[in-house]
């Protein structure tokens, strides 16, 4: 397990699979019926079950936070626990937090709009406003764990999570941090779900008990996955994978870009990350198959695809949980809008 690359040493997740440290069962899930708001008929999605954050992380106060911030706090705590890291022995000013999200704190943004609709813009809620900012979850992670290093929230059309993973690893390589917690996630709200529905992006399985994989749309999902990255040689515990070179691009030729990235390396596995694209016809599958040749392709799973641009960490977690084996691998995400994200991995 000797490597000079940044390594992934801890995973925490708050997803439809539950609240977990480390790998998860990775069995296919069925979407749940939406009951959080009234719907005009059956509506389904992959949902996180309600839980009390303080029951997982003692002392956690989340009453004023939206679910995204609460989940980020729980997922980061589980990831640090999984990595076996005792922060009291670390220089916390050199611990970075990268958070990838598509919609950010959309729950409290909706609540703020509700206060404006009810009371007028002159009567909005001052407690809610700062929590509507997209960087609120990452800030709460820093505040709770006393992490004083770089704290970055970013979003990238189709590839937010991949971008965060690459930039978090970059910070370690460049010596700008000693440890990075990379998180990615989103919450599903009425406004987001109804926008998907109005835009005709949803799979038939959202409206009936049909198969979850469909060429006609995707099933929205929610959750947060956190991963702890450490520089090579620092970790004393086991590692899941080493992170090699990677790139993401808004356009261009996917296959040429990936081949350029791979050089002479031939991965043993390609881990597919679909990003909100219809599952069965996802361009990631066709690109991966073209690039793969004899290489084993680990297909994208609907529950992670439904998380859109924040889904890649869940894709990676699910693929690692399937334990395809050891050796070189490629995490590959593509988008129906064009572009790609690719990251070379060494699986342990």
């Amino acid at each position: 397990m000797k490597t000079t690359l940044p390594v992934l040493t801890g995973i925490g997740s708050v997803t439809p699979y539950g609240l977990l440290a480390g790998l998860i069962s990775a069995e296919p899930l069925e979407p749940s019926v939406i009951t959080a708001w009234s719907t005009p008929g059956l509506r389904r999605a992959f949902l996180v079950e309600t839980f009390r954050p303080a029951s997982i992380v003692p002392g956690l106060k989340t009453r004023r936070l939206d679910r995204l911030s609460a989940w980020a706090l729980v997922a980061s705590s589980l990831a640090l626990r999984d990595a076996g890291i005792d922060l009291s022995y670390m220089d916390r000013s050199r611990i970075a937090v990268f958070f990838a999200t598509g919609f950010g704190c959309v729950e409290l943004t909706a609540a703020f709009y509700q206060s404006a609709a009810t009371n007028g813009w002159a009567g909005t809620d001052p407690i809610t406003f700062p929590e509507t900012l997209s960087n609120a979850p990452a800030s709460h992670v820093a505040l709770f764990h006393d992490l004083r290093g770089p704290n970055v929230t970013l979003s990238s059309k189709s590839f937010a999570a991949e971008s965060a993973l690459l930039q978090g690893a970059s910070l370690l390589r460049l010596g700008q941090a000693d440890l990075a917690i990379v998180l990615a996630g989103d919450t599903l709200t009425q406004a987001v779900y109804e926008w998907y529905e109005a835009a005709h992006l949803l799979a038939p399985a959202c409206f009936s008990n049909g198969p979850t994989f469909s060429a006609d749309g995707f099933i929205p999902s929610e959750g947060v996955v956190a991963m702890v990255l450490e520089p090579a040689g620092r970790q004393t515990a086991r590692s899941y994978a080493a992170l090699g070179a990677g790139r993401w691009a808004a356009g261009g030729d996917v296959q040429a870009g990936v081949r350029q990235l791979l050089g002479d390396v031939r991965p043993d596995f390609i881990l597919c990350a679909g990003n909100g694209a219809p599952c069965a016809s996802s361009p990631v599958s066709s690109s991966a198959c073209t690039i793969a040749g004899e290489t084993e392709v680990i297909p994208a799973q609907a529950v992670a695809t439904g998380m859109g641009e924040a889904g890649a960490l869940l894709h990676l977690l699910l693929a690692l949980s399937k334990r395809p084996g050891q050796g070189p691998a490629l995490l590959l995400g593509t988008s129906a809008h064009g572009g790609f994200a690719a990251l070379r991995l060494e699986l342990f």
């Binding site: 000013s93 919609f103 505040l143 970055v152 926008w195």
Partner: protein, 371 residues
């Protein structure tokens, strides 16, 4: 700014009940007709177009460039509060494409679409430190050789959402703001966009580019103290400044000017004062500091990029912009508060500093090009 003029105007029309001071951008050039872009997107596109207007390198370099754009507002300017009464009904009334511009990632994607850029593209949303962090992350992308050039900046539009939010926090000064004044009452919201083109010095020299400045050092830290308020002793920001200077290979004597975050709020300005006193402690002369938010307000996600551009302008022209309306500055023996007349002096090294809700800090150290 050289003439000491500011952009503030009284505003009452932004929403019923609002009476304050803002700095608004006028009519935007017509861009990409037939598409729906938010005002934030359109300002970003206009800024990016101007930033590459003089680019005469290979078209492939521009196409393969990266984009890191900061925003906090994104497409919120296009969405009204009625969406909360029934999203589906709001979408049926023509809001579907407007809602599509909501995610901040759209700001970066809009620039990519507008200029035909296909490199790594992302948006940064770290409250008011976003713009400076976009530049720092863009520099990291260059070190990683992820793209030949990176367009980095920020854009944010005025909208009722943010005005109402800051108003609810009682953070707004109804009059034009007075950063670092003992009688400061708060900030004014502005809007705008700024985009910088970054490439490695070696590459820029090789292609004979007009080099405006060298980004010598950068750093990002977090206070981890409070969800909104900065750390009172300013030590988080001071640490950020020290790390940026370390990367730049500069000592505290080398910096000739600091373009401060300087919002004009009571909490920010005193914390920032403590940060400069700490970071530049031991310097032989007080450190010259000003806040150019006194000219164009707080442009939120765009602020760090705009102020980086102004810092570079100060270095190029040797003009140190004073803080406007600073008549009774916070007492500090370590700080040379720039006020009154424009000061002119050679400026080999200058710094731009940003901070934001959530405790984030960013510092950029610029040097003049030797070319």
């Amino acid at each position: 700014m050289l003439a000491g003029q500011c952009c503030f105007k009284p505003a009452t029309e932004l929403y019923p009940g609002f009476a304050g001071t803002v700095a608004a951008v006028g009519a935007l050039p017509s861009l990409a007709e037939g598409h729906r872009y938010s005002r934030t997107d359109r300002m970003a596109m206009a800024g990016a177009r101007d930033a590459v207007a003089d680019f005469d390198g290979p078209a492939s370099d521009l196409r393969e460039s990266g984009i890191v754009m900061a925003s906090t507002v994104g497409g919120l300017s296009e969405i009204d509060a009625e969406i909360s009464r029934g999203p589906a009904a709001w979408y049926r009334q023509g809001g579907l494409s407007r809602a599509a511009s909501y995610p901040v990632s759209r700001v970066a994607a809009s620039v990519a679409e507008h200029l035909g850029i296909e490199g790594p593209t992302c948006a940064v949303s770290v409250a008011c430190a976003s713009g400076a962090m976009a530049i720092a992350l863009a520099a990291n992308l260059l070190l990683d050789e992820a793209a030949p050039m990176v367009l980095a900046g920020g854009s944010d539009a005025l909208c009722p959402f943010t005005l109402s939010g800051f108003n609810s926090l009682q953070a707004l000064d109804p009059e034009p703001c007075r950063p670092f004044d003992q009688n400061r009452k708060g900030l004014n919201i502005g809007e705008g966009a700024a985009v910088l083109v970054l490439e490695t010095l070696a590459r820029a020299t090789r292609r004979g580019a007009r080099i405006l400045a060298v980004l010598r050092g950068w750093a990002m830290t977090n206070d981890a103290t409070h969800p909104t308020a900065p750390r009172k002793d300013g030590l988080g920001l001071a640490c950020c400044i020290q790390r940026a200077l370390e990367m730049a290979g500069c000592g505290i004597e080398d910096v000739g000017y600091v373009n401060a975050h300087g919002t004009g709020t009571p909490l920010n300005d005193i914390a920032e004062t403590h940060a400069y006193e700490s970071a530049f402690h031991g310097r032989s002369r007080p450190i010259p500091v000003s806040s150019t938010k006194s000219y164009f307000g707080h442009c939120l996600g765009a602020a760090g990029a705009l102020e980086a551009a102004i810092t570079i302008t100060a270095m190029q022209t040797g003009a140190l912009f004073p803080t406007l309306r600073l008549t009774d500055p916070i007492e500090s023996s370590g700080i040379d508060w720039l006020r009154g007349e424009l000061r002119r002096q050679p400026l080999p090294v200058a710094m731009s500093v940003s901070a934001g809700f959530g405790g984030s800090n960013a510092a950029l150290v610029f040097g003049r090009s030797r070319a």
